[in-house]
Each structure stands twice: as C-alpha cells, then as structure tokens.
Symmetry: C2
C-alpha cells in the first residue's frame, strides 16, 4: 500500500527549525503526476471528484449538517496562494466557496484579539473556506518584524492550537498548507512580475524587504508548523517551485480529505409520491 | 453586420405583459451554437476570454479603479440561477466573484427599506457580482402574493430605476438576466428533482405553489422588465429551456460587456529598473 496524499505531505515530525525546512525539496514530486501534461489529465479527474464532493457537502448542510472544510494557505510572496485559489478553488462551484484574504490588519482589527478577524471568516456549514494568509501571520511577520514581544507571539501557538481544536470540534476540517518555494524560484517570479506589464500590478516593493529576511521567516514557519501541527489540524508542506505540481497536490489533498468526510445528500422530509401527484395535477395557464 | 449578443437578447421594447412574454420562445437559439457540442467548444474560448477580462478588471481596481460588474439573475424556480453561477461563474477566478443569494427576507431585513439588504451586497470595485435573485423579488413575489399594497410595489419601479442609475453612476455595469423557461420544462426539472436522490435536496414544496401562479408571475416579470429596462441597466431575456444554451448566452453576454469596458492592467508607480537592480542584489541566506 502506498502512502495517502495526506501522509505524503504531512510535515515531518522532526521539522523544528528553518534548517530542517531547507532539507525539504521545493521541487520534490514524491507521488502523483511526473509532468505538466499528466497533471492536466489528473486535474480533470480531480475536478469531477471535487465538484461532486463539494456539492454533497453543500447539500448536507442544507439538510442540517454542520460540517465544513477550511483550506489555509500560507507561504512566502509569490509562492502561489492566489494561484491555488484560481486553479484549485476554480474547480468547484463558486457558490460553495468562502474565500477570505488577510492583509495587513486594519486599525479596527488591531484593536481586537488577533483571532477576532479570523473567527468572523470561519466557513459556514457546507462551505469550503479558503484563507489567503491567516492567523499564522501573527506568528510569522509578527515574530520576524517584532510587532509584539516574544512572550506574546509564543503564547499564540497555544491560542492557535486551542482555536483550531475548537473549530475541529464544531465540524470544520482543517487543511493547512505551507507553499514551500526556493529563494531562487521566488526571484524568478518577482522578475516575471516586473517584466510583464500584465503582472506588474502584483509587484510590491515590500516583497523584497520580506525576502531579505528569508532565514528568519523559515525559522518562524518551521516553529509555527511544528507547534501547531495536530491530527485535527494537520500541516502539509507542498513542494511549490512547480506550479502545476503545487496545484495538483492541493487538489488531491482536498479531494482525499473530502472523500474521507464522505458527505451525504440529505433526504428531505417530503412525501415524494404525494409531491409527484401534486406536480402531475399542476396545470399552468 | 450581425447583431451583438446584447442586442439579440435585450427585451423587446413592446414587451409589456405576460402575454407578450409568452410569445418569446424559451427554446430559441437566435445566435450562437446550435448544439451542445458546439456550445462546449465555444465555452472553452469564452472561459479564456472571461478569465483574462476578469483579471484585468480586478487588477484595474487594485490600481485604484472603481468599476465593477453586476450580473442579476432572476427566473422561476428551476430556471437555472444556480446552474449559471456554477457553469458561468465557475469560468473565472473565484477570488474575483462576489455572490449574493437573496432568500425570503429575515425579520431584520423586513424592518429596513427593501433595498437595504441589496446595497450591502453591491460588488466592490474590480469584482463581478452575481445576484441569485435580487431586489426584483420585491416587485415579483411582493406583487403576486400581495405582500404589500399595489401603490407600494408600483412605487418600487421608480426606486429600483433610481437605485440602478446610482449604481451605474458609481461604475457598476449591470447585466440583468431573466431566465425564461416554459412551464413544461419546469415540470420536467421538478420531476427530476423528485426522482434523483442526489437532486432531491433542491426540491421545495413551495415551488408548486409558485408554479400555480404562473400567469400572475409572467405578468409581474413582464411589467418589471419593461419598467426598469434602461440603457444603463438593461434587461436580457435568456431562452433557458436548454441549459447549455442558457449558459452559453450568459457567458457570451458577460464577455461582450466586459470587453466593452476594456479594463486595463494598471501601471504601478514603481521604478522598474531600480526594482530589478534591488532584486538582483537581494541575496538570500
């Protein structure tokens, strides 16, 4: 028996530092398609499976179900958070998605606990939520840029773990993905944004400031992932130097997770034969 | 020169009553693909065009643009509002969509002006908003079921016209579509929902109550469309007995509308050469 997709990408138990993270190859393809053409074919199959599973999850909630899925996307600039939303999120009915983007906190958000703005975006029953960045920013940039003292961000690991356990308890299945890219790949993608007028709007001068702190970010990622990985809220490290592999891996993770939930179309409490008779008798005009 | 997609589906100027509406064929295919296979091919092209146009509209707003598009979907039960969201909305990046579903108003919504809940869902700059039902319910079910006196719903035509002119003034391009189906097609779709366990969750016993009032609804639609059709807020009647034709027609309408807006990727105020030099100098490690 091969490993499942989830087992394959789950963070290694011994990943504790940025140096450990650097041992993971952002171009690895441990399972799945070997090239772009094969990936495109597999994505067609995954699209069908995801479409069906998403509809069943949505329908289940109409019937009173409380389950939802939350895909958390974290990664350095250009790692492909937006690309995953477009190419993986784009595989299912947009009505079933609930996308939240977490930018630099506003004054109002800063006046609240760091989880306040996150709680308001937890997906409703039946939805697949996608977080483009998340509460993890508060132990990433919050740590690297020393926005809060160390004891504060350290305590957040516990707060996050408690919060995510609470989500799991209320029926939200978490799929946390760190999009792992190399500094070399990032440089190429930033250059592409500068060179292509149709991509230039995505370029932020601040991206180079964060890039300059790469090792500090890798340390912050490694510790955050390690401290908050749990069976009810697992972290996956997605090799993301190849966009097609990254998209395939996350689509496959989602499909496997949803299949495991096995959402069911509800049986509405109606008398089907009586309704058929009512329909047959309904005359229009 | 053939007619544009918009000219083809724009409501006829002489459409004033339900009897007029009944003269429009829900199986008409005045332009575009003749069969499902041809439609699938055209949808691939439309997907590429819509994807590009949507991204440009989104980018334009990042650069300070204020334009947005709002697709309003109205139609009898089973006419395919959800199907359009899935199959047409699903063609673009879900991040660029803002979908709002208007169900039976809540107590809180009823305590406000009927446009209150609609205003809060107007798409942000750069987005394609989709309304699954809309403020038009207040001159449809509101009229047919006599939820308010006639002078109240009659006055709403003016309020809607003013509201939509205001939207147009602030840069929101309206694309209002009435999904036109026959009572026979509706009966078949309702039966399919009863017969198929995977569709049964969509069945509402109330749908047959609305079906029983078909002529009153057609009158209400015809007058609402006629009274609120404007160049800045046009109504299109989409032949919807064939799902593939309905989806093609709305995708084509959207693509034509967006192409006409001609959204542009913004030119961020950065010194590209200086940024290239900064990037080249950025050493990671």
């Amino acid at each position: 028996m091969g490993k499942t997709v989830r087992e394959t990408f789950r963070i290694p138990a011994d990943l504790r530092t940025g140096a450990d993270l650097a041992t993971l190859d952002p171009r690895a393809r441990p399972i799945g398609p070997r090239d772009k053409t094969a990936a495109a074919e597999e994505m067609n199959d995954l699209a069908d499976r995801l479409d069906h599973l998403q509809e069943a999850l949505y329908a289940e909630a109409i019937g009173g179900g409380t389950r939802a899925v939350l895909l958390v996307l974290q990664g350095m600039d250009t790692s492909g958070k937006g690309g995953v939303i477009r190419h993986v999120g784009g595989l299912v009915n947009p009505q079933g998605l609930q996308i939240a983007t977490f930018k630099k906190p506003t004054e109002e958000e800063l006046a609240h606990h760091f989880l306040w703005r996150v709680r308001s975006q937890v997906p409703e029953p039946g939805r697949i939520g996608i977080f483009d960045r998340s509460h993890y920013e508060d132990v990433l940039i919050g740590r690297v840029d020393e926005l809060v003292p160390e004891d504060v961000w350290r305590h957040r690991y516990t707060e996050i773990t408690d919060f995510e356990a609470e989500l799991a308890g209320q029926g939200v299945t978490l799929v946390k993905c760190m999009l792992h890219i190399s500094p070399k790949e990032q440089a190429e993608r930033l250059l592409a944004r500068l060179d292509d007028p149709a991509k230039r709007w995505k370029y932020n001068t601040g991206d180079l400031d964060a890039r300059a702190k790469w090792p500090a970010y890798q340390d912050a990622y490694a510790e955050a992932l390690h401290r908050t990985d749990a069976d009810a809220a697992p972290w996956y490290v997605i090799p993301s130097d190849r966009k097609w592999y990254r998209n395939w891996a996350i689509a496959a993770l989602l499909a496997e997770t949803l299949a495991d939930l096995d959402p069911r179309f509800p049986e509405p409490g109606i008398d089907v034969d009586a309704e058929r008779a009512r329909l047959a008798a309904s005359v229009v005009g």
